[in-house]
């Protein structure tokens, strides 16, 4: 009984989703980053810098969505591990293909 009451209190502390203020702040940051990446596409940076800047901003936006909207920052460690493993498979596949394509 005491266990169940302690778990329900931890549930309300954890919260089901980010607060309204955190959600709107994150949304504003995501919209600002979208405007930034669009604006930078019109600046003469050179193809390599253009692509790496765009991908860096996209990764930052994806990180914000995962951490705040998907609640990953406050998820149990096991859940975060599962998410990171998914990204690791993606990067492994891309790295393998890129290594092959760029060296021959």
């Amino acid at each position: 009984m005491s266990q169940s009451s302690s778990s329900s209190s931890s549930s309300s502390e954890l919260g089901p989703a980010p607060s309204v203020a955190a959600t709107l702040t994150c949304l504003l940051a995501l919209l600002a980053l979208t405007a930034l990446t669009t604006g930078l596409a019109f600046v003469e940076l050179g193809a390599g810098w253009q692509l790496s800047t765009a991908l860096t901003i996209a990764a930052l936006k994806a990180g914000l969505v995962a951490a705040v909207f998907m609640h990953l920052a406050r998820a149990p460690r096991l859940t975060r591990t599962f998410a990171l493993v998914g990204v690791a498979w993606l990067l492994l596949l891309l790295a393998g293909v890129l290594a092959d394509l760029t060296t021959r």
């Binding site: 959600t23 990446t37 096991l78 859940t79 998914g86």
Partner: protein, 215 residues
Amino acid sequence: MSAKQSSADLDRDRDRDRDRVREPFASPDHQRASAELGTWTFLAQELVFFAALFVWYTCQRLRLPAEFAAGSRATDWLLGATMTGLLLLSSAAIVLAVRFASERRRLAGILTLGLTMALGLGFCGIKGFEYHAHVVAGETPVGAHGRFWSVYFVVTGFHLAHVLAGLGLFGVLLIAWLRDRLRTNALIMAALFWHLVDIVWIFLFPLLYLIDPKP
């Protein structure tokens, strides 16, 4: 007799609570953490699915940089940015819907879920308009810069299929909520899926629309 009656009432009340803890879970937290972990496992394999498409994109773009730049110039970056904005707004709206569901604020929740769906439908509408314009202009896999358009249509097509699947899930959940039969965990799981679809588009937008938009 009256004690038996009240116990039956209690059972009925418990059955009506869609968020009650079910077997084999020990607590609401345990039940929710399991639902989230299962969803993340599904999302990890979704990432692997999209990884194949991104690898195809990478190979083609490295081989055909000029064709990709020319094809990308024929896309409308303003429409792409607008669609990005719609998906980001819809993601924020579904976060609020989840919050309202767990706070049992039904009307606010139904409105934000409806807003999420309206924004998602707006995305689909613009995408449909774009597809139509490209086909009419001959910007297809068999036209000029066809290898860019091949990647464009397949990758955005699979993404659009995910958006439609998400909207279908939300439609079912909206009906359940209107009938007061929503399970909060089901909404949390559908929202996680929707955010992943948003993340995929966050990468597709610069990779397809912003390769070289300078006039």
